[in-house]
Structures are given as C-alpha cells and as structure tokens.
C-alpha cells in the first residue's frame, strides 16, 4: 500500500521547484486522506490508492512538461478554442525533443552499420530460383468471387423488397405523392 514514506518517494517524480513549494502540504493532505480511508472498505481503499498514485504520476508528468516550457496541459484548464492560428508556434521543448529523437536515430543507424560490418559474410549461395505455384492468388480470387456473389444476393433481396438504392433515389427525386 501507498504509505507516507512511499508517497514521499513518489513526490521525487515532481520537479524540485514544485516539491519545495507544495511537497510538505501534499504529504500532510495525503496523510489526512489516508487516515480517513483506513476506516473504509477494501474497495474504497484500493480506489483511493489507485487515484492517488495515478494523480501523482500524471501531475508529475504535467509539471515536468510545464517546466520544459510546454505550457499547462489542458486537463485543468481547457485548451484555447479550437481555431487555426497563423501565429501558432511549437513550444520550445518540441525542438529539443526532435533533436534528441534525431540524434537517437543517427546513433541507431551508426550502430547498425557497425554490427553489419562486424559480422562475417557466411551466407551460402542461393542457386537458381525456381518459380513455385502460389495458392495465394487463387485464394484472393475465390474471396472476391464469394463477396461479390454475397453482395449480389443481398442487392437482389433489397431489389425484390423495393428497398434498394435505385428505389430510394426514385422516391427522393420523384414528385411528392
């Protein structure tokens, strides 16, 4: 269970500035809530601890995002109205994240090249490749024929009931009865 000690450790997920400002208060409030939850049933206690853990995780993520210059995530205050702004600019954190991702991709490519160069070429000659009859094409054709036939049967039933698209169009474009 989420004891005060564990809660204090989870608070380390928050940026230091947030911990300094609200850390002791959060621990104090959590302690009061935990004392209240102790008298509840097992289900309510599980709900309480799950809510607190999730709240801490999401809150820490949100505060880190904000401290990176990404602004407040719209969970508490909604985002601005959904309109196109010509003056829209990506947050500063986006450029940093994109640079990090690009660097990661570059490193991965270099590592891949190094691995390929280090492995000796041991593949045996393949020899002549003979064409093999594939059953895939036949299966695709059979599937198309099946669905086409099913569609035709369905359309025929609707046509017989005068509920097909042709009849509906005629009813729509026809003169009022």
């Amino acid at each position: 269970m989420l004891t005060l000690s564990v809660y204090r450790h989870l608070l380390l997920l928050y940026p230091e500035s947030h911990r300094d400002r609200f850390g002791e208060e959060m621990v104090s409030v959590f302690g009061e809530m935990q004392a209240e939850a102790t008298g509840m049933g097992t289900g309510a206690q599980i709900g309480f601890y799950a809510r607190e853990t999730a709240g801490l995780m999401v809150g820490a993520l949100r505060e880190h995002w904000r401290s990176l210059g990404g602004g407040s995530i719209g969970l508490l205050f909604p985002r601005r109205r959904v309109t196109m702004h010509s003056a829209f600019r990506f947050p500063k954190a986006t450029a940093v994240l994109m640079t990090i991702i690009l660097a990661g991709v570059m490193v991965a490519i270099k590592q891949g090249e190094a691995i390929v160069a280090s492995v000796p070429h041991v593949s045996q000659p393949v020899g002549t490749i003979h064409p093999v009859h594939s059953v895939l094409l036949g299966g695709i054709v059979q599937g198309i024929v099946f669905f086409y036939a099913a569609g035709m049967i369905g359309w025929a039933i609707l046509f017989a009931m005068r509920r097909s698209g042709v009849h509906r169009l005629a009813e729509t474009s026809g003169a009022p009865k």
Partner: protein, 125 residues
C-alpha cells in the same frame, strides 16, 4: 433577445488576458467555488469539492496541487499563512481577480442554462 446580446457583450468585454481560461473545467470551477465562501486548506478543499459534486468529483492530491499551483501563478488565489503551520498546512483564498473571473464564468453558465431552457421549451432565443 436584447438581454442575450447585452450579456454576451458584457462577457466579451471582460479581461482579455483571462479569456483563454474559459470555460473552466469542472475541477477548477469547484475549487474556486470552494474558496469563494471562506479560505480553506488543501484537505478542506478536497472534501468540499467532493461534497458539492455529490461525490462525483474526487480529486487526488496531485490533481489538486497542480490546479492550485496554476491558480496561484495566475493570481486567482493566494496563500494565507496559518498560525498552525507546523503540520504543513497552508490556507488559500480567492483574490479579487479570482473572484471576478469566477463571476464571469458563473454569468456565462447562467446565460447558457437560460438559453438551454428556452430552446428546450421550444421558444426562440
């Protein structure tokens, strides 16, 4: 019809700097309403929000202090130093700006509910 446009004009003329926050989310609205009556500390806000929403909105400490941090930064609320601060308790209260913005939001909601009532009743507004 006339009062509708009058109210909308009043709403549009409110502080431009704060318009980006409207409409407020339910947790923030309930936190502000909780502080509208009297200053409260964190635990008291949590319980009051739960009570006001009939148990529908139950905030975690992470969510509460994320909202309080933002409201403090925007100068909608302020901290009060309590005499008994040994337990890490801090009380919060609405600032003048916070109260004014809360009134704007409540006015917006009133207008919306009035319009909704007219539409549901089948009258044109």
């Amino acid at each position: 019809m006339g009062s509708l446009w009058l109210n909308m004009a009043w709403y549009d003329m409110s502080s431009e700097a704060t318009m980006e926050f409207f409409p407020l989310t339910e947790p923030v609205l309930l936190i502000l309403l909780s502080l509208a009556g009297q200053p409260r500390h964190g635990y008291s806000i949590l319980k009051d929000v739960e009570q006001m929403s009939d148990g529908r909105v139950v905030l975690s400490t992470g969510t509460l202090y994320g909202a309080l941090r933002r409201l403090l930064d925007e100068d909608w609320i302020e901290r009060i130093e309590e005499q008994d601060s040994s337990r890490g308790r801090q009380a919060y209260r609405l600032t003048t700006r916070g109260r004014r913005n809360l009134q704007v939001e409540v006015g917006r909601m009133k207008q919306l509910t009035r319009l909704a009532s007219l539409r549901i009743a089948g009258k044109q507004a």
